[in-house]
């Protein structure tokens, strides 16, 4: 078996790409560089650094810098999504004028939608609205985009999160097992299994699962969105039906929500296992081959302790990074799964909007996802600093 060390890690993020040098800079490169070069920090500086206050300040600075760094990307997203939507073929005015509309009514609608103005003008209006917190109104669903996103986002998030939890619970142990038995059939089998999972188009997996578990076996409930008709959605607190059901103490509803969640979550999880397992394996191999693991063994720590307490905890760092990448990727990719399972999430919303050139909806969706992406990366960064002390030295 030929996968270990840094290079393995580089490629191992799978679909989601490498070690995320753009998204995650971790400690400032020069500081890290100097640390790698073995430069020691002054003794007293070291003590000061260890002090929590300085670390917290450094972290706050780091977050601030990351937010600033992500602003250009958001601006880019706003511009590109605007241009892209305008480049979409078709005339929304004609489309929404409905059947039997004549040229005059189309023109009326065009004016109503503000599409009769020049593109720069439209852009300024759009940006102005955006700054005022107004994402506009979707013409295809007739709802304010913000409202619609707010209602649908929890659905997508709930699906994505459960899929990822599921996927992590399966993939990480698989990756660890593969690394612990590197080169054996266990290793190859793990690789084959997770690769097979990522080899199937999600919509196909979804439909196949529905066919088998609902249509043929009848184990799963009808794929009708988030909750069977028998139940009413729980009082919205988080927007996650499962969580809200628990908060409201409605266990029946919880069961219903979980039952609906099962198949789509499994579909997505199958698809996301590969990068996680790959990364877990590569990171685990690297950790297992490291000097500190040897030290731990030489110090007499039990094999379990060495494997989980030392190697695993270190190997989880790159996995967390991958998890962030996979998460944002999945949020975008569950479009197809949502379609199959009639899941009322943002993905299916975006597809419908795109097909009918519903500018505001597409732009709103893209922007929301971009903000989510940025926030997510920030969160991962923070988690990373929390678990990896090396990143705390700040600027």
């Amino acid at each position: 078996m030929a996968e270990s060390g840094g290079h393995g890690v580089g490629g191992a993020a799978g679909v989601m790409g490498g070690s995320a040098p753009y998204a995650r800079r971790g400690p400032s490169p020069t500081a890290l560089g100097r640390w790698l070069k073995g430069e020691r920090l002054g003794e007293d500086a070291a003590i000061a650094l260890a002090a929590g206050r300085a670390a917290a300040r450094a972290r706050a600075r780091m977050i601030g810098r990351r937010v600033l760094l992500s602003l250009p990307a958001l601006v880019g997203v706003v511009i590109v999504s605007f241009v892209l939507t305008r480049a979409l073929p078709g005339d929304p005015a004609a489309y929404f004028a409905g059947p039997a509309a004549d040229a005059q009514s189309i023109a009326e609608i065009r004016a109503q939608l503000g599409l009769d103005r020049s593109l720069p003008e439209q852009f300024l209006v759009y940006v102005g609205d955006l700054l005022g917190g107004d994402l506009g109104q979707s013409i295809s669903t007739g709802q304010p985009v913000l409202e619609e996103l707010a209602r649908r986002l929890p659905a997508s998030l709930e699906l994505t999160l459960s899929a990822l939890i599921l996927s992590t619970l399966v993939a990480v142990p698989l990756g660890v097992a593969a690394a612990a038995r590197q080169g054996t059939w266990v290793d190859h089998a793990c690789r084959a299994v997770v690769t097979a999972g990522v080899s199937l188009p999600t919509f196909f997996t979804g439909i196949a699962l529905v066919y088998v578990f609902y249509y043929v076996l009848g184990w799963a409930p009808a794929p009708l969105g988030r909750l069977d008709l028998l139940y009413f959605p729980p009082e919205p607190v988080t927007g996650f039906y499962t969580v809200d059901a628990v908060l409201a103490g409605e266990l029946e509803t919880l069961r219903g929500a979980l039952a609906q969640l099962a198949l789509p979550a499994v579909t997505l999880a199958l698809f996301t296992m590969a990068p996680l397992a790959r990364m877990a394996r590569a990171a685990m191999l690297e950790a297992l081959g490291s000097d500190y693991v040897r030290t731990a063994r030489a110090a007499g720590l039990s094999p379990t302790r060495v494997l989980y307490g030392v190697a695993f905890s270190n190997a989880m760092l790159p996995v967390v990074t991958t998890l962030g990448m996979v998460f944002s990727f999945t949020l975008g990719a569950n479009v197809l799964v949502e379609k199959v399972f009639a899941w009322p999430g943002v993905g299916s919303y975006a597809v419908e909007a795109l097909v009918v050139s519903d500018y505001a909806a597409v732009q709103g969706f893209v922007l929301a996802m971009a903000v989510l992406f940025v926030a997510l990366n920030l969160l991962i960064d923070v988690i990373y600093t929390l678990i990896d002390p090396r990143t705390r030295q700040g600027a």
Partner: protein
Amino acid sequence: MTALLDVSDLRVEFATRHGVVSAVQDVSFTLEKGETLGVVGESGSGKSVTSYAVMRILDRGGRIAEGRVSYAGVDLRAASEREMGAIRGREIGMIFQNPRAALNPIRKVGRQIGDVLIRHARATRQTAHDRAVEALRAVEIRNPEARAHAYPFELSGGMCQRVVIALALACDPRLLIADEPTTGLDVTTQKAVMDLIAGLTRARGMSAILITHDLGLAAAYCDRIAVMKDGQVVETAPSAQVFARPAHAYTAKLMRATARPGARLRDLLETPKPEAPRPAPGAALLVVESLAKTFADGVRAVKGVSFTIREGESLGLVGESGCGKSTTSSMVMRLLDPSSGRILLGGEDIGTVPAAHFPRDRRRGAIQMVFQDATDSLNPRFTARRAIADPLMRLTALGGRERAAKVEALAEQVGLPLHLLDRFPHQLSGGQKARVGIARALATSPKLLILDEPTAALDVSIQAVVLNLLADLRAELGMSYLFVSHDLHVVRLLCDRVMVMRGGEIVEEGDAETVMERPAHPYTRSLLDAAPVPPALAAETPLMETARCAP
């Protein structure tokens, strides 16, 4: 009295892609209570594998194929994994090379020590912290309470090594195995760490195995020395005896090749050769004036140094890690733009040509460099031939056939067998890679060759050959050298003059012999003191009593 550790006929095999290879065979040695055994040998001779076999922490694919390892009468080969777990850390402690990497990077050092204490029931969860601080105090770490809360990356290399020692000794083992505990540390730190280890083992009446390839170190700290070669112990004898009367030819070769005071370059070689003549210095070739470099992040790596290298002269630059040696040489090399100062080559200021444009400058060929890490400095995708030809292609107007001839001539010049020219770097040994690097540097017939610790990564015997090669080349080609190193003995062998650098400044400069014999600056003196001095060989001077040798 039975030996504390008794290893006999040990053979360790590894399952590799080429089938099973045996890394170590027929290794036998014993270790008495309170004794310190040095294991010396060149890289790959099986020193580490032997120690790992004793601890039964061989890498995946490795197994003890034959032999007996008994510790205090317990057969370690037959012991269960559970029993081994109890022995490791409590009975036998181990220290590794590269201390920073040997510590779990995301756990506070105090906790790491605490983990071991708890594991061996030397502390409870409640007392673990206090006991860990005690252990840290025992290794003479200043302010141990605060250090216990530090992560490894917050500590210097020397401190990390102390922590590793604390970790290894936390449970009062009776045997300590130290696998190259000081490689990668500065000479001054190295001495402090070794003194600490020696002091602690002596105070606690422990036995120790010190693995090293530095004969001086072994001689200074060990009672007996085992010499390993190709997976076998070729000789075991008391230290003094090994040096005085090496029984095995290999041992003699090793001794001989070690740079030491009083020896001349040729003395290092197996087969004596006439000393290469040192060319008489000519006119000033390189004049450096108040050269300074401040990096973007504000680090003032070099704070205004001035020196002159004359034609045919060899100037040594010594100093501890991080003092700015490489930065200085990079600037002279025109790989890095100085913040201020002038670099005059043959009277022309080359410092004004931006580093980014210098590759195309006509004077590029005049200054070349041999790098510290031969492996790193060779493109893994280029064969040796291509690596040597590259500067010829870029900097000379030679045609294809002439170039091929020149490459072979260069290879011959540096003593590289021609059949090796089509190999990739990973197919060459360390010494061969060093030769490729030198041949490449010579390709453009430079006037000034900068040698940035060219032998630091090499075994002593290869180092001896390479140093001699460099001396011969200088004599032959009349080049000037700027030789960067932190090994004072080596510098003395090759250089006419020496500069001592500290914190980006030159603190002392002078004739090599003078600086070595009568250092003016206290810093130079401390450097000299810290360097372990291998005993002189029998053939040269009578055996010196090794004063620092542990009883």
